[in-house]
Amino acid sequence: MTNQENKYQYDALVIGGGIAGGEAALNLASTGYKVLLVEKDLSIGGKMIMLSKVFPTLDCGACITTPKISEISRHPDITIFTETEVTSIEKISEGDFKVNIKKNPRYVIVEDCTGCQQCEEACPVSVSDEYQYGMVGRKAIFIPFSIASPKAAAVDIDSCILCGACERACPTNCIDFTQKTEYIDLNVKTIIIATGFNLFNPLLIPRFGFGKYKNVITSMQMERQLAPTRPYNTILRPGDGKMPDRIAYVLCTGSRDETIGNPICSQICCMYSIKQAQLLMGALPMADVTIYYIDIRSFGKGFEEFYQQAIGMGVNMVKGKIGKIKEKENGDLILRYEDIDEGIVKEAEHDMVVLSVGVLPNSDASGYFKKEELKLGFHKFIYQPDSLISPARTSIEGVFVAGTASGPMDIPDSILSAGSASSEAISYLIQQ
């Protein structure tokens, strides 16, 4: 570990390189400010870059994200640090924040890596691929995913056996095991927090059998199966590789549920499930798709029409909450639920179950602040003291929030909220 006394100076620090952080950084940079964008992951793009198509227009997620990512990464006034976390922030005075960041080693010199993947072939270690949500494996040295930015390899040092095979295979000698964790001090004038959200972990609801029954997957895993950069190149159920033809969606998994501590609605699951159902009907024309719901919340522009379109396509909508899921010997699943329309408890058999997991707060950012308190709201999202009139303001002047760090939001709302945060940040910078 080294502690470098580097002095860096930026106008704005944007924490989080997802779609909200990226949009905010672009807005600031195109107004002429110098921006540092810090992302803890190996690639910018956040969760959106992992998505297949996005509702309600069915634009392909990558087609919208990649050019934006490209614009961010080549903008002369935006500096990007990936695999970097914020360790502490101290407000010295208005317009002066002292920040310490921790840049983790990637063990690859990004500038020299051509993304040829020869290191991946040479590496003998296979582990579960978190970017495909555990559905396939990857090597201990790997390119996160095909449209990652930067598109460069990284070493997963916890899994690496230090055999050196990758170093020998690399044609540009860009693998560097001598890289060390760097701590960097810097000064910024304003901060935008765009740290996004966490997905609900369905292991917390054991009666749904996630982790135990192989054909119960999460909606993010289905998203990956439907994406252009998908792991199987088709839709398969993980248990036996069979193409499913009776797929069930369990909405509100981890949302509107006091028992797991999240009483609020996640705002996006109805729509992404309806979208996936439509895509599945295209990919598997013979498959039946059933959505079990409490209320359908298709509230945004074009959403209700999108929902009606799904019904028109033959998606089966059942109002009823799933009580329990059981597995049959052949891997099929039996869902026990109350059919509200008929008023009786029923069982239905499906060969694959998708849990539409909800949005949980990522409250990491509140831990960065040493002197001031970055307050969290009742639901542990970042507190908005003036939520009606200045939704981007936080409890600390000069620190603004963009996207799902302040609450569940869909993509258009995240982008607008990023516009809002950057507008407030620009005003703050001008007034300093």
């Binding site: 080549r74 449209i147 509200i340 999202f381 507008s423 005003s427």
Partner: protein
């Protein structure tokens, strides 16, 4: 002309294209076309790594023409133009071929046909690429000022934000008072601040900004020019009351006025005089005479010297670099007889109900009768299976529940019965729904495909619904008051849209270019939209979009100059005979008459021309060409398509 060295890139678009189009076959079919130097396929042409690869190729091989066959140019024409530019190639030497929307997606039932069509489309793009020649963008200077249409919460917030960036703002409000719809609301979710308090806060902030000019009672009646320099003509109606006015005397004038008309501020629940204040905290703080209803009896003048009937309508001209539209919405007005509206007197709308809560103090009275049982009927004018408004109005579930809770809090013995079609309290608003149920509000959902009915029985107002929880059994309830939860509709008076030529979506709200990529921009360069004029939104969402639009409008003009497309019409003065046909065809007033060398001919204003091409076909002399889309270029494309 220098012989072209063209690079051709055919995109898989993940699988969006390659699922139906044999991308490799397309590459092989075009690699030997005249002018093609290199032809490649790529997974995502728009991704950073592919962009870098294209740039390398352009530099290494000295390419001077480029074709990318991918998605619609609406999405990525500019992306690839910029790629060309970064590689040092003139960006107008780039030609886009759309083989996704026009190929793979349109012909997903016929892979061979889709491939064949893709080959033809790419060949025609190559044909054009052989002929195109570099262009330079028009650089125009931009006025550093913004006009904001509508001083509701969105417009006021946008004005404050732009003014804070040291940029002059003209805030134009059609009504005599600012605050829009929010000024009419009482306590609001989630902060329990009242609408009045929110508007007060914004107004106080606004008037401290020296670079904001506020016009009330003022409408835009004409717009010309384009991004960087819009000329707006404003019509300012007189208040007939002097700016500085003695409050007590003005009150006397109100007292003596004999004319009573329904008060729109209270959604016609009450009346006001023809001379009136808006409400206790009106902004700006000045009364007004409603001249349409005034009988000119002159009584007010006798008690208040600050009445001034000599005031005249003013026409004001302003010039701005960008226009931000925040013109808001209208609450849906039910048709006569829709759930007995206007037929049974105790059927009112949600906005009326909210005013009713504000207007009553100890008891909830309507037409003198005490109200206890209240039935709320949701989705009136929204989610209509048959009607015009198929969309969900987004704000109404939360707003209705909040109003019902406010009534319960303020008055005794209130019983709230909600007849809904699935409650949509998305996000954190769910807690409100939870609170409402735990306080005893009753929710009855209509079976899918059915709607509640309102009718009179023995002089009582009844609501009947097929209840989803009891397998469609009919549930009937008596109501002292029926509240129709009405949604948002576009403004009925939407002249600003016509004046600025703003496109509308299928829901008739103003439409943005792209919900995710360009959510506050419109196809009219330099004009942004925000708030509920682009679709239903709650206050926080309106404010977020207002600030996003403010950032965008500001970024257009803050450098003082901007570049516009050089793809404009060009008139050959030697061929033009000045028949005036083109000026009539031009929707942007970009063509004017000039006389020089004893000849009269038409000429194009390059900064106004959008390159739409409307003038081309009407020219009897064929004197007009569209740069980058000349007859030559188009004919070469048609030839390539025809040859297959």
């Amino acid at each position: 002309m220098m012989k072209k060295k063209i690079g051709v890139y055919i995109c898989h678009c993940g699988t969006n294209i390659s699922d139906y189009v044999d991308v490799e076959k397309v590459r092989k079919a075009v690699e030997n076309e005249e002018g093609v130097f290199i032809a490649k396929t790529t997974m995502f042409a728009c991704s950073d790594s592919s962009q870098k690869e294209i740039i390398e190729d352009i530099k290494n091989y000295g390419l001077n023409g480029m074709v990318v066959a991918s998605c619609s140019p609406k999405l990525h024409l500019n992306t690839f133009r910029e790629v060309a530019e970064r590689a040092g190639m003139n960006k107008y030497n780039y030609v886009h071929a759309n083989i996704r929307e026009q190929g793979s997606w349109a012909h997903s039932d016929n892979k061979e046909g889709a491939t064949l069509k893709a080959i033809q489309l790419v060949k025609s793009a190559i044909a054009k690429a052989r002929l195109v020649h570099g262009l330079e963008p028009n650089v125009i200077s931009a006025k550093k000022s913004v006009a904001i249409i509508g001083a509701g919460v969105a417009g006021m917030k946008a004005a404050i934000s732009i003014a804070e960036k040291n940029c002059p703002v003209f805030l134009i409000e059609r009504e005599f008072f600012v605050g829009g719809r929010v000024s009419q609301w009482g306590e609001m979710f989630t902060t329990d601040e009242t609408g009045q308090e929110v508007v007060t806060r914004l107004y106080n902030e606004l008037i401290q900004k020296p670079n904001v000019t506020l016009f009330t009672g003022t409408e835009v009646i004409e717009s010309s020019g384009s991004i960087g320099d819009f000329s707006l003509k404003l019509k300012k109606k007189p208040r007939y009351v002097k700016n500085v006015c003695d409050h007590d005397k003005f009150q006397k004038a109100i007292d003596v006025c004999p004319v009573e008309v329904p008060d729109e501020f209270n959604f016609n629940l009450t009346t006001r005089k023809a001379i009136y204040h808006n409400f206790p905290s009106e902004y700006p703080h000045a009364g007004v005479i409603d001249i349409d209803n005034c009988t000119r009896c002159g009584l007010c003048e006798t008690v208040c010297k600050d009445i001034d009937f000599s005031q005249k309508e003013e026409i004001i001209a302003i010039n701005v670099g960008s226009v931000l539209v925040a013109s808001g919405f209208d609450p849906y007005t039910p048709k006569n007889g829709e759930y007995c509206y206007n037929e049974v007197e105790n059927v009112i709308t949600l906005p009326q109900f909210k005013r009713l809560i504000e207007l009553n103090e100890k008891e909830l009275l309507f037409n003198g009768k005490k109200i206890e049982n209240i039935a709320y009927i949701y989705c009136v004018g929204s989610r209509e299976p048959e009607g015009e408004n198929t969309y969900c109005s987004r704000y109404c579930c939360t707003s209705a529940i909040h109003a019902a809770l406010s009534a319960r809090k303020k008055f005794k013995n209130i019983i709230n019965l909600h007849f809904h079609r699935g409650i949509r309290t998305y996000g954190k608003q769910e807690t409100l729904y939870y609170n409402s149920r735990s306080q005893g509000d009753i929710y009855i959902q209509a079976e899918d495909g059915t709607l509640p009915e309102v009718y009179c029985k023995d002089g009582k107002t009844m609501v009947k619904v097929k209840d989803i929880l009891s397998s469609g059994r009919e549930v009937e309830a008596e109501a002292d008051l029926v509240v129709l939860i009405t949604g948002m509709v576009p403004r009925s008076n939407n002249t600003i849209g016509t004046i600025l030529k703003l496109p509308k979506g299928r829901d008739n709200f103003f439409n943005e270019i792209h919900m995710k990529l360009r959510p506050v921009e419109t196809f009219i360069d330099g004009v942004t939209i925000c708030g509920a004029c682009q679709g239903p939104k709650n206050i926080m969402e309106s404010v977020n979009s207002a600030l996003a639009a403010a950032t965008k409008s500001f970024s257009y003009i803050n450098k003082g100059e901007l570049e516009t497309e050089p793809v404009v019409a060009e008139i050959d003065p030697n061929m033009c005979t000045w028949c005036d046909a083109c000026t009539n065809a031009c929707p942007y007033d970009a063509i004017s008459k000039v006389s020089a060398d004893q000849k009269i001919y038409a000429t194009i204003n390059n900064s106004v021309c959008k390159g739409c091409g409307m003038c081309l076909p009407v020219c009897p002399e064929d004197a007009i060409q569209l740069v980058n889309y000349s007859d030559n270029e188009i004919e070469s494309m048609i030839d390539a398509l025809a040859q297959g």
